[in-house]
Amino acid sequence: MKKLIIYTIIVQGICFISCSNSKKIASFPEITVALPGAGEGTITIRSSGQGETEAKAVSAAEKKAFNTLLFYGLPSSVQTRPMIENEAESKRTNSQFFDDFLENGEYKKFITKSYNYSNVQKVGKYYYLNRDVNINLRSLRAQLENKGLIRKFGY
């Protein structure tokens, strides 16, 4: 009998955790879109992020914006194509660059403005937010060219 009670509690606990997790994701959609009207040589990306602290959520949103810009491009923007064509190959041959750039925060040098678009929500242990990130596209391209990740203009 005791075993049955323990078993029921464990099963209910698992159900509760999984249900509460899916509820969190459903209530907070993932966003990465380009916004119109950015200044010349820049791009503004609205990106969602989540993390155990607000700072981690901000960082996740910014990293996602850069990741999309570099490897996927953003439709209806000045950068519809990915800046780096082959993600897997580039990450393999330039692992140190990407470690510094995305993981160690080098990308922050190319942010001209970054602010929360909506109020930060805290659901359970996690913080969720939407952030508008304005990126200096021109200087980012120059940096990628200088590091040899993309070709300079020309053939």
Binding site: Q79, T80, E85, N94, G148, F153, G154, Y155
Partner: protein
């Protein structure tokens, strides 16, 4: 023993540091870029004089300058159209009075590999404001292959300053125009640059393109095609047409670099053709103009 150990340690350390260097030094993957010559010119309609069109229309000047500026922002210097035009006028280089011909001559004379035509249609005026529309078209000067096309439209503003609207319109698409062009450049790096080859017969030549060449006994045009198939990059060529007196390859891909990594140009390819014809006992004259190779069989 100690000595051996320390030697082993130093060797392994140096190998490791070299490995790290190769992994981290991005300069090792650096790609050399050949900069093509690009000229930005205004679009002219039938009967319009390219010489006066820029001087008369400030909006076209703004458009041309803004397009040049977007190239500058990518650290790319373009051939200055106005300067070329002025110097050509001073040197009285234009041989024709035909207005359309003048544009062709200017492109040829400038030595530009690529030219970008900027069309500035009249202002679009609506009740909700005015906007400008621009049409940008980039061409390969030798083959006339289109490299990039964009129609740019500014948002609507309640202003009659057309120059400002033109600037706004260009801001919406110049980056994408250059990005598309860069994609085409990457294709050129991968599949070679395009040249046009024009084979003709000199007056009084004993050959025709249907003449059977010995020892194979194949028509001359087929011998040429077989050679082109072997020597164009990745067997990439297209014949526009063959007659008894003429053979035209409108798109032959040649590499950007030779086997030793040195720059390879249409002149070197023309020399290769010249040498091949010599092996067949033919003498020929070669001329290269604006990425087109002219071979005349004597």
């Amino acid at each position: 023993m100690k000595k051996k150990l320390s030697t082993l340690l130093i060797t392994s350390l140096s190998i490791f540091s070299c490995y790290c260097c190769a992994q981290t030094n991005p300069a090792s993957n650096k790609v050399n870029t050949v900069q093509p010559k690009i000229m930005v010119i205004p679009y002219t309609k039938e009967g319009e004089d390219i010489r006066t069109v820029l001087e008369a229309d400030v909006n076209r000047r703004v458009a041309v300058t803004k397009v040049k500026e977007s190239f500058d922002n990518r650290n790319f210097t373009t051939v200055d159209f106005t300067a070329k035009l002025k110097s050509a006028m001073d040197d009285q280089l234009f041989t024709s009075t035909s207005l359309t011909d003048l544009k062709t001559q200017l492109v040829e004379m400038s030595g530009a590999d690529i030219y970008v035509e900027v069309e500035v249609p009249p202002m679009v005026a609506t009740g909700g404001g005015n906007s400008a529309r621009l049409i940008l078209t980039g061409y390969d000067a030798s083959t006339a292959n289109s490299l990039s096309n964009k129609v740019c439209e500014s948002p609507k503003f309640f202003t009659s300053d057309y120059g400002a609207l033109v600037t706004k319109a260009l801001g919406t698409c110049s980056e994408e125009f250059l990005n598309t062009m860069q994609v085409k450049f990457s294709d050129i790096v991968e599949n070679g640059r395009s040249v046009k080859i024009n084979f003709t017969l000199a007056q009084g030549s004993k050959y025709k393109f249907s003449t059977e060449l010995q020892p194979e006994g194949l028509p001359f045009s087929d011998v040429l095609e077989a050679w082109m198939s072997d020597n164009s990059l990745k067997n990439n060529y297209h014949i526009q047409g063959t007659t008894d007196l003429k053979m035209l390859f409108d798109d032959v891909r040649i590499p950007l670099k030779d086997e030793k990594g040195r720059n390879y140009n249409p002149n070197q390819f023309a020399l290769k053709i010249f040498q091949f014809l010599k092996t067949k006992g033919m003498s020929s004259a070669k001329e290269i103009k604006n990425g087109t190779i002219f071979i005349t069989i004597k």
